[in-house]
Symmetry: C2
Subunit: 123 residues, 2 copies
């Protein structure tokens, strides 16, 4: 399981529509491996200032969600899967916890009902 | 698929260790359905101020991750699954996008190799 700071960064990276939009674009354009996308290609059309875009890219980079490869004057962005897997793992573990507990509660309810029925039957 | 604001709130709710800790405690203590936990039970042992705890609870409530039921002087907290499912769904959709694209890249590489082998065979 990822450590706390890693998980904080992974979830924070996902917590803004522009960051999710950039990530989705990288995912659909085959930027995991391959050529990646230039910063312009990855961020075109989001209606915010360049400094805002830079901040979003920095958040994504710090989370390890994107990797920037500098090739002369072109910065190419690649998607990295790890933070999304870490986030997914945490949610799965949470689900396992609550479903286990929920099963216990449901079993208890089922047993109580059976008990109640048995009680009625013996009246 | 959840809307953008809902997803922002879901991911932001997960982006702090104390909030994840509270959610994990609610999940393991059967607070989805059932009695829930009092605020004290849900937040005991996190070494931050009461106002900080209140802010974390507010973030979780605004995301719909916890529901507070007020019973006289006791506030009982219940875990709600929806935001975690929304977050998981978004990550799954992202994974599907990049795997599809990745398949295309791998197929292209495989075909290129086959092409190269065929070329060698005909020498």
């Amino acid at each position: 399981m990822a450590n706390q700071a890693t998980l904080d960064a992974a979830f924070a990276a996902c917590a803004h529509p522009i960051r999710r939009g950039i990530v989705e674009r990288l995912a659909t354009q085959g930027a995991r491996g391959g050529e990646g996308l230039s910063v312009g290609e990855a961020t075109r059309g989001f209606e915010v200032s360049k400094p805002a875009i830079s901040r979003h890219l920095r958040v994504l980079e710090e989370a390890g969600a994107i990797v920037r490869v500098i090739d002369g004057r072109t910065h190419r962005l690649h998607l990295a899967g790890q933070p999304f897997e870490d986030a997914e793992d945490w949610i799965s573990a949470l689900r396992a916890m609550w479903e286990r507990k929920f099963d216990v509660v449901e079993q208890f309810i089922a047993e109580s009902r059976e008990g109640a029925r048995d009680g009625e039957g013996s009246k």
